[in-house]
Structures are given as C-alpha cells and as structure tokens.
Amino acid sequence: MDKTSPLARFWEEFQQSCVAVVALGVVLLIMLLALAAPLISPQNPYDLANLVLMDARRPPGFVGSKGFTHWLGTDAQGRDLLSAILYGLRISIQIGIIAGSIAFVLGATLGAFAAYFGGRIEALIMRIIDLQLSFPAILLALVLAALLGQGKWPLIAALVTAQYAYFARTAHGAASTERSKDYVDAALSTPLAASRVVFRHILPNCLPPLIVVATVQIANSIALEATLSFLGLGLPVTEPSLGMLIANGFQYMLSGRYWISIYPGVALIVLIVAINLVGDQVRDQINPRLRR
C-alpha cells in the first residue's frame, strides 16, 4: 500500500517515458528562455536605435558592427534573429496560453452545464458545438480575425471561438458519465445551487481528459496564431510573433537567405512537437485501457 500522493505517482509513471521527459524539459526550457528574453537576448530587436541596417540579411555566425555574433543571422532590418525569436516565442506562448485557458474555462463550463441540465438545453448547446466542430477552426479564426480587426484581444477572441468547442465536447462527454453517478445524486438531494454542483462536484472529476485536450489545444492555438500572423491577420506589427518573423523572411527564401524564415519555423516546430509529445504521454497515462 503506497501512501504517495496521486501527483507523485503520476510523475513516477510519467518518468517511464524518456521521450516525454525530454519533451517536457524542452517545453520548460523554451518557456524559461522566452520569459527571460529581455535578460539573455544580445539585442532588443524592437528598439530601432539598436538596429544597424549595414548588418541586414547577414548569414548565421556573422559578427555584427555592435561587436556580438549573430548566431542565427540577421533579418532585413538588421535584427539579430536569435533575439527576435526569443521575443517572438514570448508573444506566441503568451497568446497560446491565454487563448487556451479562456477556451478551457468557457468550453468546460458550457459542456458541464449542458450535461447537467440535459434535455433541450443540452441538445441546443451540443448541436451548436457539433456545427462548429464540422467546420475547420482556421476558417472561423480567419474570418473572425478579419472582422474584429488587428490586435491582441481580437486575435485571442478569434482563437477562443475556434477552439472552445473541443473543450466543450470533451467536458460534455466526461460530465455525462459523472452525471449518472451516485455522488451527484447525493449532491442533488441537498439544496445546493446548480452552479455549485457543477463546479465543485462534476467538473473536478472531468479534469483529467480536459487537461489532455488543453495541452493539445495550447499547441494548436500557438500554431493557429502563427498561421494567422503569417497571413497578416494576427498581431499588429508592434507585437511580432513567430508567424510574423516567418512571413518577414519568406520573401528571401528563394534568394538563398533561408535563415530569416527557417529558424523561427524550427523554433515553432520544436515547441509544438514538444507540447504534443507531453500531451500524448499524459493521454496514455489517463487512458485506463492502456494501464498496465
């Protein structure tokens, strides 16, 4: 009989997959680098006084006129790409986490209430969500981003609208099975408000599958944000995310200056793949059918 906490047991099981541990390390490292970007990046890439046009479009390893080495080269304005990527990661991760969290709260609440009330309300909410799931998220986000205009919050609103349906469906599925259990009946027999039963009794038991969806959806919203920024519909130029860096370097791809586009893309791929690997491992651990 082990007396370890569920979290400790979870971590012990998580460690059995080397790939997932490495991926988690990569995610944490990237987040740390992004958080510490102003401290560790050699240049503030958005302070125009720091930029030297003479150093524009230099290959990786070039020693610039400010005396430091541009390890990943410079872009068309003479920005150090390493610094630009670190600052870009900061914005991409921020948007991904904010949009993912809002979608999580909104979707989980909606799905759990749909399962709780049942009947017509459930049918109405779930059909709207089915409708949204049959339509690709990127088109919805594209049109919403176009209608709401540029900026951080319109973009987050577009991402949330495109993604809350996944959370709602998962929460509904988990909450429907919880709804028929005895402890919910017991809670219902007491004069508790509906919201209290949903938030304190049903939702906590729906959390494991929701957490899995959350990891995947945060990676998805980072990718979606990069896509929208690449198309010029995402963040304004003053808040350059990774997608915008890729779009900026894109016109130089065929002239041999691959580094302007490729390195931000590599950073994006590494981040997304690492988050997805962690999510896969958590999903396998939660799935009782794969449990040994």
Binding site: F135, L142, T227
Partner: protein
C-alpha cells in the same frame, strides 16, 4: 480486408479533404496561386465583405457535400448500415 478497415479511412479522408480546403488559404498565399484561398485573403485585406460571405457559403456547402458523401460511402461499404433502413 480493405473493405473492413475502409470506414475509418473514409472518415479521415473526409476530414482531411475539408482541412485541405481550409488550409488552401496558406498554401495559395505561399505559392501565389490564384485560387479560392488567395481570393479570400485578398478580400479580407481589402475588407470586401460580400466576397467573404460568398466564400464562407461556398465552403459551408462544400463541407455539407463532403460530409454527405462520407455518410453515403459508409452505407456503400458497410451492409449493416443499409439493412437498418428497411427495418
């Protein structure tokens, strides 16, 4: 054998066809192909709302057609889904 595993393949095929259609926006922007995706991006950048609405209607219609054909393909592939109609 192929017939037995065809149902999930058809499902994924339908979904992928849909997302290919959606991601045509990105592909056509990158390669400057004058397709429907480039049209929607250009209309968004000039805020040409009638074109945007027409595009969305067209894509929604295509999705209905794709989903319908997937459902019909299920019936063609799995005899159990066909007999239920009679009984």
């Amino acid at each position: 054998m192929l017939r037995l595993i065809a149902i999930p393949i058809v499902t994924v095929f339908g979904l992928e066809l849909g997302s290919t259609l959606a991601f045509a926006v990105v592909t056509e922007t990158i390669f400057s192909w004058p397709g429907i995706g480039k049209l929607i991006i250009d209309s968004i950048s000039t805020l040409d709302r009638p074109v945007m609405v027409a595009y969305l209607m067209l894509v929604a219609f295509l999705f209905i057609v794709i989903n319908l054909s997937v459902d019909i393909a299920y019936a063609a592939l799995d005899p159990r889904l066909r007999t239920r109609r009679a009984g």
